[in-house]
């Protein structure tokens, strides 16, 4: 059992005050379509403690945060504030002193800093609110980040990313009427430098010792270990560990997040790096490792989501294909990850969706040769088993997994020697995944190069070589048997001594 920090002289009194529940979520289940985002998770936060929340991508951290701040209604389970029970929603959560700093910046960029304070604090009404808002945010900024030098009269647009983050944190901690009881910080230091992050962590300790509660989510394990009283580890929508911070080390934390090492399903092809690289890229953002890919290789881009993998893929794509002129022969094909956003043409047939990338080869005198197009469609339908009676059916008549297969076929049907994949297996069922893996293997054997960004560890382990990204740069290269979940996790998280 964890002992609470003693801030009061009377231990019994302290115990009673500090053990008060600020927010509690019990047995929460949330599903998005077929995906279980939360599968019976419990998270209880008491006054006077800082709870660290860690877990890999898709573990359900952001979902449970959204449940607690009232933005998302759970399909099962109960959320309560201050020990009471019943209502749920954004305004209820706010009325109970729950504030949230989101991972993506959530200020209004077109408003000034003090106007943003007004938007966030509805109790700041009446005459002269501008001056009061200015005073409030200035005082709070000075308290958290002494010597910050931010002009609070300027528009948020004109501030740097770090300054915006500082302002947002200050606004959330400040209280116009009453102080917040629970502040949820989702990756608050992602754009702060080490000095500012240390100031924030020191402030969190002060805030907690004055009886506030903080839920801290961060990929920097050092921060979590040094600042939290208690650490909750989530995996696959469940809480898998909930212990005092003292009982964890960087190593044990990484282990708690990861899977038990499973048998490798198949043998890696013997990596024969022959000849010159087919695709290279200098180190991103001027630091880290350079990137290179050889013929017939399957390369994984790993790391936490949104750490520059997609940008790197786009950069690689544009290095081979012009942004302006249509190329006659494309060297690089791209498989998009977000099907509905930039993958499928929803109004078109399956065949048209498949053949769009290879129309150049299929046409003679600028006219598409229909019989050749049909031939191509039939061939790929057999080869990757698209489950449809007729290729002329609308693409949306297919299941998500089969739509994704069509997108793969679109890329593979071209003559491109390099295929870039931007986490294409999101929301695809296991059976389809296995089929696609087989096809990828076969294509790689015949000399194609695959560069694959994936957030799923099982897929990363299929690759011959893996680059791990952190903060926009490649921080580690793993080959062959080094590709284990533990190594990838260790490289994706800043972990004090481990990094």
């Amino acid at each position: 059992m964890f002992t609470w920090p003693n801030t009061d002289h009377d231990p019994h009194m302290t115990e009673a005050v500090l053990k008060q529940e600020v927010a509690a979520a019990r047995g929460i289940k949330v599903t998005f379509g077929a995906v279980k985002a939360l599968d019976g998770a419990d998270l209880i936060i008491h006054a006077g403690e800082c709870v660290g929340l860690v877990g890999h991508n898709g573990a359900g951290k952001s979902t449970i945060v959204n449940v607690i701040n009232g933005g998302l209604s759970p399909h099962e389970g109960e959320v309560s504030y201050g020990g009471g029970s019943g209502q749920h929603g954004i305004s209820v959560a706010r009325a109970n002193g729950v504030r949230c700093v989101f991972q993506e910046l959530s200020l209004c960029p077109n408003l000034t800093v003090n106007e943003n304070v007004r938007v966030t604090h509805s109790e700041l009404k009446g005459w002269n609110w501008r001056a009061r808002a200015l005073e409030l945010v200035r005082r709070q900024l000075e308290e958290i980040f002494p010597g910050h030098g931010i002009d609070c009269d300027s528009t948020v647009d004109d501030l740097s990313i770090a300054e915006r983050q500082m302002v947002e944190i200050a606004i959330s901690f400040s209280g116009a009427g009453e102080r917040p009881k629970l502040v949820i910080l989702d990756e608050p230091t992602s754009s702060l430098d080490a000095g500012l992050a240390a100031q924030l962590m020191a402030y969190i300790r002060r805030f907690v010792s004055e009886g506030g509660a903080v839920l801290l989510i961060s990929h920097i394990l050092g921060e979590i270990l040094s600042t939290s009283d208690r650490i909750v580890v989530m995996k696959d929508g469940r809480v898998v560990a909930d212990r005092a911070a003292k009982e964890f080390s960087t190593r044990s934390l990484v282990e708690a997040m990861g899977n038990v090492v499973r048998e490798l399903e198949w043998q890696r092809s013997v990596t024969t790096r022959s000849g010159a690289a087919v695709l290279t890229m200098p180190p991103r953002k001027g630091h880290g490792l350079p990137f290179e890919a050889h013929r017939g290789e399957m390369i994984g881009l790993a790391g936490l989501g949104g750490h520059g993998q997609t940008d790197a893929l786009l950069h690689l794509y544009l290095s081979g294909n012009s942004n302006w002129l249509p190329a006659r022969r494309r060297e690089i094909a791209f498989v998009a990850g977000d099907r509905s956003l930039n993958g499928t043409f929803p109004l078109w047939s399956i065949l048209k969706n498949l053949s769009i990338a290879s129309l150049g080869q299929l046409s003679s005198r600028s006219l598409v040769d229909q019989s050749r197009e049909d031939l191509l469609g039939e061939g790929w339908k057999k080869r990757i088993e698209i489950r449809t009676p007729d290729m002329e059916n609308r693409i949306l008549s297919l299941s998500g997994g089969n739509q994704q297969k069509v997108l793969f076929a679109r890329a593979l049907a071209t003559t491109a020697k390099i295929v870039l994949m931007d986490d294409p297996m999101r929301g695809v069922d296991v059976g389809t995944k296995q089929e696609v893996y087989e096809i990828l293997r076969a294509e790689a054997k015949s000399g194609r190069t695959f560069i694959w960004y994936s957030t799923e560890m099982d897929e990363i382990r299929l690759c011959d070589r893996v680059y791990v990204f952190r903060e926009g740069a490649i921080v580690a290269e793993l080959t062959g048997d080094e590709i284990t979940e533990k190594n990838v996790l260790a490289a994706s998280f800043h972990g004090g001594e481990a990094a």
């Binding site: 954004i90 209004c108 960029p109 007004r118 938007v119």
Partner: protein
């Protein structure tokens, strides 16, 4: 000295108005008088009001394609009901403002594109206007006529009215809490929602306020022309959008400037007179007006790019 981005946003519209004005004075020195200025800017007052109305809609990331027909409708109501029986006229206007608020609610609730909804509404307003005044006619209420044709000392009415509109809307949109919330919805509505505000109410409020300004535009227009017609203000739809953009506003992101919008409306009105003074035939005038717009907007894009480069350095 570091200029805020809001000030930089205002430089181009103010500069283009000054340049146009100088060109007009150069070509026609007699315009540099009380009567001359009044004649030049007379018709800018209703356009400025319609531009402010459009700006309110654009502040919440929407676009109103019914502005022209709605102002025409209001002009017809002013010339008939408001003149004959003021109580019924005021009731009709209140109903029209409520209809605007309802439009905002429907657009928000059903997540409809505002362009489609307002395009549909434009036929309704147009139809109602034709029902009231099948042929040009009606009469302006005496007080509206008096306000629009009064001659204050030293500065002509058109200028006084433009300044008053600019100052009032500046306080309403840029300084008041409600204005902050409207622009907040345009900038990042999720942030406003997360802070516990009702975005529906804010949107409805923005639309209702836009309706009010459009009503004022219709009254001002009839005060100037003395009679109305169902098609009197059809050009206002595009003029108002152009005015907002010319004045430094943007289609999305809640970036608007009331002072800029009024200046934009004045610039557009002046561009018409300028082309007449240049003896450009009316056949070419619309094209020339478009060319002026393109030049000003190109200048602004250039300035934006400079600003961005400065920031990245």
């Amino acid at each position: 000295m570091k200029l805020s981005s809001g000030t930089i946003r205002l430089i181009i519209p103010a500069l283009s108005l000054a340049v146009l004005l100088a060109a007009v004075f150069y070509m026609q020195p007699r315009a540099m008088s009380y009567t001359g200025l009044n004649l030049l800017f007379n018709l800018a007052v209703p356009i400025a009001l319609a531009t402010v109305a459009q700006m309110l809609i654009m502040a919440v990331n929407d676009l109103d394609l019914s502005m022209g027909t709605f102002v025409s409708f209001c002009a017809c109501v002013t010339a008939t009901f408001l003149q004959a029986s003021p109580a019924i006229g005021i009731l009709i206007f209140l109903g029209a403002i409520a209809a605007y608020a309802a439009m905002g609610v429907i657009i928000h609730l059903r997540e409809l594109p505002s362009i489609v909804v307002t395009l549909g509404m434009s036929f309704i307003w147009g139809g109602l206007a034709v029902l009231m005044l099948p042929s040009p006619g009606g009469e302006a209420p005496g007080w509206a006529r008096w306000v629009m044709t009064s001659r204050p000392p030293f500065v002509p009415m058109a200028i006084v009215a433009s300044v008053v509109i600019a100052v009032v809307t500046h306080f309403l949109i840029m300084r008041s809490s409600f204005g902050v919330l409207i622009r907040g919805v345009g900038g990042n509505f999720r942030s406003v929602e997360r802070a516990g505000w009702s975005v529906i109410r804010i949107r409805a409020g923005a639309y209702a306020l836009a309706g009010l300004f459009a009503v004022l535009s219709g009254i001002a227009l009839v005060g100037l022309t003395t009679s109305a017609d169902a098609n009197i203000a059809l050009r206002y739809t595009l003029l108002s959008i152009a005015g907002v953009i010319l004045g430094g506003g943007e289609f999305v992101g809640g970036k608007v400037s009331p002072i800029g919008a009024v200046i934009g409306a004045l610039t557009l009105t002046l561009a018409g007179s300028f082309l007449s003074f240049m003896r450009i035939s009316p056949d070419w005038q619309i094209g020339a007006q478009g060319a002026i717009l393109i030049v000003v907007l190109a200048l602004r894009l250039f300035l934006n790019r400079l600003e961005k480069r400065e920031k990245n350095r």
